[in-house]
């Protein structure tokens, strides 16, 4: 199925339990030997949406998978904005429900930017996952969906991901002068920007 390191973690879990469906084990799962049902796996997904995307973007490496009945694509970073525009214009995904990121420091492409899309006409949800390196930046999707404005600001604030051509990329939840990106895994739970705390709150430490 998936070969790139983005799926390493999932793939290792799946190899241990190769059968995707619990029913496959049901035949032998008599009460005498209660084995655990196989762990669910991310399965490849093919549908009219996948094919339309592959036809529109033949030369990008698009992976289409589904897990727990939720469909998602894994895209390379340069294609994020064109695919987003295509999905909104041609496939009816007119709402960006959420835009966020996840930090996988053990991977080579450290961040994964996640877009949750929803289509009103199709009543369908879709997720886009875009792996991103630590120093790489990604095109902003503000021209496609206006919601992305504050959502990208928050992703920048929490992870330090730069969004190119964002109208106003600056911190939103934390103070402007804060140093550090809290939701990264190397930022400890008790860590604070002590310099900012001391200068602005006039206390030794926030702890």
């Amino acid at each position: 199925m998936a070969e790139d390191q983005g799926k390493e973690k999932q793939a290792s879990g799946q190899e241990a339990a190769g059968k995707p469906a619990p029913e496959a084990k049901g035949a032998g799962g008599k009460p005498a030997a209660p084995g655990k049902p196989a762990a669910p796996a991310a399965e490849p997904w093919d549908g009219e949406l996948v094919q339309s995307l592959r036809k529109a973007f033949p030369d990008i490496s698009l992976e289409a998978l589904t897990y727990r009945a939720q469909n998602y694509f894994i895209l390379p970073r340069e294609s994020a904005l064109p695919v987003a525009m295509h999905l909104k214009a041609e496939c009816g995904f007119n709402m960006l429900a959420d835009l966020t990121a996840v930090d996988y420091p053990q991977r080579e492409m450290r961040f994964e930017v996640i877009y949750q899309l929803y289509s009103f006409p199709r009543n369908e949800r879709l997720r886009l996952k875009v792996p991103l390196g630590e120093t790489e930046s990604i095109e902003s999707v503000v021209p496609v969906w206006g919601t992305a404005d504050w959502l990208e600001r928050e992703a920048y604030d929490m992870f330090g991901i730069r969004f190119e051509h964002h109208p106003d990329l600056r911190r939103i939840l934390l103070p402007e002068e804060w140093q550090g990106y809290p939701l990264r895994k190397d930022y400890s739970i008790l860590q604070q920007d002590t310099k900012w705390v001391q200068e602005n709150l006039h206390i030794e430490s926030g702890q």
Binding site: A97, G146, T147
Partner: protein, 374 residues
């Protein structure tokens, strides 16, 4: 030596920048809005948020799935039951656990009662912001009746921690059904009382009609959800589009507005209260018996994977994106906060209006800063 007066003063300028908040009676929490005004007309706004940022998403990575459940109530602290429902359902989806019917029905009842309390608080404070002080007392008085139900059920009025992963922890108490039925019987008359005070009130109409108009395309583009979206004309409710808990089994309508102004949002929320009573009535009449907790392992360790689950919270689409790495603690919990995303629309809705309308629009968006900032 006397100083000579400067040649040109700032009083010549037409635009002034005024700061509203973070401490302000009408901002519903610690919200700072920087207004650029031309006299009384608003030229532009900028929201500065983050005064209530507590790092809930970071905390989630350092607690087990069960330990995180109480934190979730504190985000939208007005509608804590809904928050809990969304999180528990997201983790149940990740685990593949099925919730028994009785638990689903009780969850639906409590969530709908919570929707009513949230809307009552909204109505009281929104009316008070605009100068109508009386509805506040009435709505809070009625809210007490429902908070008594929550207190009898789980011990807490506001941050309830009512649900557990897999179902419920507490069985419903003796008298639960009677108390809920009593609420469903007496409430519609109370809602009529509020309508008598406001709906055809000349002052209310003048202050809310044509204020803060948000058109449907703008609403969808900005990702606005909940009553704000429905008042703009888009008939969309996650309880009907992608049902969860026990909503498939009940009949209810989705109130929609036409113009997308503040008055329509008021009408939509008042009607939603009536529909919530309808759902609660149907649920309590048909409450099945049975277990209240599904088959959940003792140690919750979902398989590697991720899930996005969203529910129709009183404020809008509340989504949880939970990423599991196979351990007992979530790898990442992302909360899609409806108030945060609805607040983005403030700028577009308020341009060209007067300063007093800013208060009306902030109130009509029904934001809770706990959710905006997390």
């Amino acid at each position: 030596m006397m100083e000579t007066a400067p040649k040109a003063t700032f009083l010549d300028a037409n635009e002034i920048v005024i700061n509203m908040g973070p401490q302000h009676p009408s901002t519903h929490g610690v919200l700072r809005v920087i207004l650029k005004l031309d006299g009384e007309k608003v030229l532009g706004t900028e929201c500065v948020i983050g005064y209530l940022h507590r790092g809930v998403e970071k905390i989630a990575e350092n607690r087990t799935y069960v330990q995180f459940t109480p934190y979730v109530d504190r985000m939208d602290y007005v509608a804590a039951v809904s928050n809990g429902l969304g999180y528990c359902e997201a983790v149940e989806k990740l685990l593949g656990v099925e919730v028994p019917p009785r638990a689903r029905y009780v969850r639906t009842i409590l969530t709908e009662l919570n929707r009513i309390t949230s809307h009552l608080l909204w109505l009281g404070t929104h009316a008070m912001d605009l100068g109508a002080f009386t509805p506040l007392f009435y709505t809070f008085r009625e809210r007490e009746e429902i908070l008594k139900v929550f207190e009898n059920y789980c011990g807490a009025r506001l941050t309830t921690h009512a649900f557990r992963i897999g179902g419920l922890q507490y069985e419903t108490y003796d008298g639960f059904e009677e108390q809920v039925k009593a609420i469903c019987d007496t409430f519609p008359a109370k809602i009529d009382e509020y309508e008598v005070l406001l709906t055809l009130n000349r002052i209310w109409l003048e202050r809310t009609k044509k204020v803060g108009i948000l058109k449907a395309e703008d609403a969808i583009d900005l990702g606005v959800t909940g009553p704000v979206l429905r008042a703009s004309g888009v008939q969309w409710d996650i309880r009907k589009a992608m049902p969860y808990a026990a909503y498939e089994e009940f009949e209810f309508d989705i109130p929609t507005g036409e113009n997308g102004d503040t008055y329509d949002r008021y009408l939509v929320r008042v009607e939603e209260m009536r529909q919530a009573l309808r759902i609660a009535r149907q649920a309590v009449d048909r409450l099945p018996s049975g277990p209240i907790l599904g088959k959940v392992p003792k140690v919750i360790k979902p398989a590697v994977g991720e899930v996005y689950h969203s529910i129709e919270a009183p404020k809008g689409e509340l989504g949880y994106f939970v990423v599991s790495d196979g351990s007992t603690q979530p790898y990442r919990v992302r909360v899609r906060p409806p108030s945060f995303i609805n607040l983005q629309a403030l700028d577009r809705m308020v341009r060209g209006h007067l300063v007093a309308d800013v208060v009306a629009v902030i109130g009509t968006l029904d934001i809770v800063l706990g959710e905006v900032d997390r």
